[in-house]
Amino acid sequence: MTGSLNIIYFAWVRERLGIDQEQIALADGIETIGDIVAMLSDRGADYADIFSDVGKLRFALDQDYGLPATPIGAARELAIFPPVTGG
């Protein structure tokens, strides 16, 4: 599958990356949320610090919660953020 996906970041994930969103190309072999997180984690030590522990992160695909095993499918937007703390 080829195409592109907009990734948006919130809270400390956004602050530590220094960007609030980016567009990535979906290369062959990238099929799940977990595949994207692994790709981000491979970018370097700073990225690995943020993305290597998926237990500290939450994911939403087109504004619905997803898990590392969730397929990207035709989704346009992946949000990556820490556990929520509203209320």
Partner: protein, 147 residues
């Protein structure tokens, strides 16, 4: 009737409660969450994921309407910079009986705290900032509603 408001503006508890009461029933329950003074808090910044927040809150309200006999649900959540004592969140539920009103109000708050995409960042009186972390007690409170 479902009313969801997310934005920087404060809310009037009396007005919101009257609006829910106007939808019928005689049992109105409400919860207000405010910025707590823990001794060295200067301000609180609330960030959210606008495209998802409305959707998540609406889903919670719809679940409440399907689980309890309710006439109306109102959820108001503020975002942006808030000071100690400021209102953060308001939930109002209206039903014929207090059990449904109180339980559904509690359910909405428990789910909101663990599902709705809001994040709090504290600025201390010494100028340091800190993102608030998820609390296990909140997760347990939310999970207890899963049957």
């Amino acid at each position: 009737m479902i009313k969801i408001v997310v934005g920087p503006d404060d809310f009037d508890i009396g007005v919101e409660t009257q609006q829910v009461a106007g939808q019928g029933g005689g049992a109105i329950a409400s919860f207000v969450g405010q910025v707590r003074d823990d001794g060295n808090l200067a301000s609180l910044e609330l960030e959210h994921y606008p495209a998802m927040t409305q959707k998540a809150l609406r889903q919670i309200a719809e679940t409440a309407l399907s689980e309890w006999a309710l006439h109306a649900v109102t959820i108001v959540h503020r975002v942006g910079k808030l000071a100690v004592g400021d209102n953060i969140v308001l939930v109002v539920t209206g039903s014929d009986h207090r059990g449904a009103a109180i339980e559904s109000c509690s359910f909405i708050m428990d789910r909101l705290k663990t599902v709705a995409p809001f994040w709090k960042k504290e600025t201390g009186t010494d100028g340091t900032t800190k993102w608030i972390e998820e609390r296990e007690s909140d997760v347990a409170a939310s999970e207890k509603w899963q049957k």
